[in-house]
Symmetry: C2
Subunit: 418 residues, 2 copies
């Protein structure tokens, strides 16, 4: 008995082979071949023929055409329990089982780009990757529905050029709100007239008007990514938060610990831009910080900390900078008003003894910590690895750090229905 | 005769030493010390005293206080002609003389972050780096004025928490419009109420209202960066364009050469978001592409190229993929309607023979080429180096690629007075 037939043959011969499949009672077909809706008249005729043969897909279910395949990852590439990956671009050798499911209407995103991500972010695991192409029959709806029921999936990352069934999509997204530890992120291609032109020649998708897309996104409450990079990074952020069991922040009251006043000012602007706010520190925290800051530069009452003055005071008094840093770190993480911490770290050989990275990476509280790291490449890579292993994401830029935190707050509001 | 006195002493003793400097006819003072306007009452009194002693800065000019110093780079770190760099953060050992001048109201940006950039972007040279702190006397105005006259400077990157003299700032920016190969980029800190609070505690700057800042930026026509990363990347883009003598694009008619339909659709949306457009290809280019595309997937008339079908055709016909790629590349660069090319490259060992990177990096036309590269790390690094050496910037994400091109068009419009 055959579960799935995978089609690698030219478009014109597909109908006749499909007939054979139906006779043999094959349950599903995955059509990799392109040359359907995206090429116009000829392709549309082929599609009609397939609808007829399959009795409107009741005799056999179809994924594709014009797609790159489906993958479920059951193990890591370096363990015995190998998963499988389909890609025309090469052999996937750095994958890891994780809690992210991908549904994409672009083969390359499922193949090439994903391969790139897995190499560069070895701690981000994938559970499923589904390239759905033209969605002749099965679409994002079926996969979404399946992943919502699958407890091994926490994050669903979608790239869509069109919505197969907007009403059902909204319904599924709304359902997600009441499922703990489940988040959907959407990158919608074809938002603009130029994008619509492009998607028509890609998957043959007649993209919706931008007004309709806006309405779908608003009603569904889905987390929207504006580009590929954000889609991935948002997925990584949620993946790590869910894996580590940290609480989603409710209000967006954060602390920024920086080694630079300028970076502090820029952060403040970005924090406001993304709808967050600095927490007002508790009296206890403030008193503790006051001891560590020099008289000529007292700390703020709001949780923007420029560490430099504390370091100068420590150096002047011959106190261990690591000790000072650790006390500050603990005080901020223990402050009940602080929901999350952005930590800017300048990594250099000269400063390595300033931080206890091992302790910092453990973070035993339920607060979320995001790192922004600059400095010497090799050291940055080493410390990044340590933090990532402990599900603390490290970001290459300040704006990414803050943007990623803001979507956690958005999802938290989704979950409690604000 | 002493040109410059550099102050590393506590704030309280500065007035008396300044008196001595004036007696000795020292021309300038650079005050690294903090503890002035940013700490309130005490600091403001100290400032008043200095104004009195220096006869309102007529007896000696002052840079700072609360700054990290001035640097002019005359050579590269690996040549005999050493420049100098002041930083409390470490020794600058990877610097290179270039065409960028930095003016910043944050020490760390001048020190730590810059050090990071120089290590990570060895092809981006710096000419001057000036940390101006509280701007008690000399401000962005004097430095800007000086750099506009200096022919070794093409790009001026500014981080400001306040404008010392908005009217004069606007005037200097407007003057820049008529100077060829000169561009000013501004990151303004303290745009929001939260940012203003932060900058008050940093450089003691009473930041302007956001309405005023908007008006200053609009009137000056300066290129605005929204964060540190963009400030640097924009500077790098202009630096490379000016160094290589390429023309700034007038209309923003671009071509995207991608290996993925999905990336093409997302690019199209971003291209529209940033006010650019796909060029309509000339008949000659279109005919050439038609030969290289398979019948089942003809090329677009607008310059969005998904390369995949051409590669499939080449493979089917046993034609050299590199030959096909090179023909497409030349046709697009030679098309009179195309002002710039975004090239998405997926670098993998399997695909390396697809591209002639040596020839591509030379780009003998006056068109601007921006690269977006994903793939295997080591190969990406190697090819990035090659392109950067030839003043072709490589970007880590699609949105950065397109955003950076859009500011070239903005500056081009500034120059011709649109």
């Amino acid at each position: 008995e055959v579960d799935l037939a995978i089609f690698y043959v030219p478009n014109k011969v597909i109908p006749s082979i499909l007939k054979d499949c139906i006779e043999k009672h094959v349950k599903g077909a995955l059509i990799e071949t392109s040359g359907f809706a995206e090429v116009g008249e000829v392709g549309l005729k082929l599609r009609d023929k397939i609808v007829e043969i399959t009795d409107n897909f009741s005799k056999i279910r179809i994924v594709g055409p014009n797609c790159m395949g489906l993958t479920k990852i059951d193990g890591d590439s370096d363990t015995e329990a190998k998963g499988g990956f389909f890609s025309g671009f090469g052999v996937f050798d750095k994958y890891k089982r994780g809690n992210i499911a991908i549904i994409t209407q672009s083969g390359m995103l499922n193949g090439g780009y994903l391969m790139n991500l897995m190499r560069n972010h070895p701690d981000v695991g994938i559970r499923y990757s589904c390239s759905i192409g033209n969605k002749m029959d099965m679409s994002e709806i079926e996969f979404l529905d399946y992943f919502l029921e699958d407890p091994t999936v926490n994050v669903i990352a979608l790239y869509l050029e069109s919505f197969k069934n907007p009403r059902k999509f909204i319904e599924l997204c709304k359902k997600t709100k009441s499922i703990p530890n489940k988040t959907i992120i959407l990158l919608k291609g074809g938002l603009t007239s130029l994008g619509q032109k492009a998607s028509l020649s890609h998957t043959g998708s007649l993209a919706e008007s931008s007004q309709l897309v806006k309405a779908i996104i608003r009603q569904s409450g889905v987390i929207q990514a504006g580009n590929l990079h954000d889609l991935f990074q948002f997925a990584r952020s949620f993946s790590m938060i869910y894996k580590s069991g940290k609480k989603l922040p409710k209000y967006g009251n954060v602390s920024m610990i920086a080694g630079s006043g300028g970076a502090g000012t820029i952060s403040a602007d970005l924090i406001m831009k993304y709808g967050l706010n600095f927490a007002i520190m508790s009296e206890k925290t403030y008193q503790l910080l006051k001891e560590l800051y020099p008289e000529w530069m007292p700390p703020n009452r709001f949780a923007l900390l420029d560490l430099w003055p504390t370091m100068e005071k420590a150096m002047t008094n011959n106190v261990s900078q690591e000790e000072v840093m650790t006390r500050i770190w603990r005080a901020i993480l223990d402050d009940p008003n602080v929901e999350g911490v952005f930590n800017m770290i300048f990594v250099s050989t000269r400063f390595s003894k300033r931080y206890n990275f091992q302790e910092m990476s453990k973070n035993k509280t339920d607060k979320i910590v995001f790192m922004w790291m600059v400095g010497e490449n090799r050291a940055v890579r080493r410390i990044t690895k340590l933090f990532n292993k402990n599900n603390i994401p490290v970001f290459p830029t300040l704006e990414e750090t803050i943007r990623n935190f803001s979507i956690l707050v958005q999802e938290s509001k989704n979950k409690i229905g604000i």
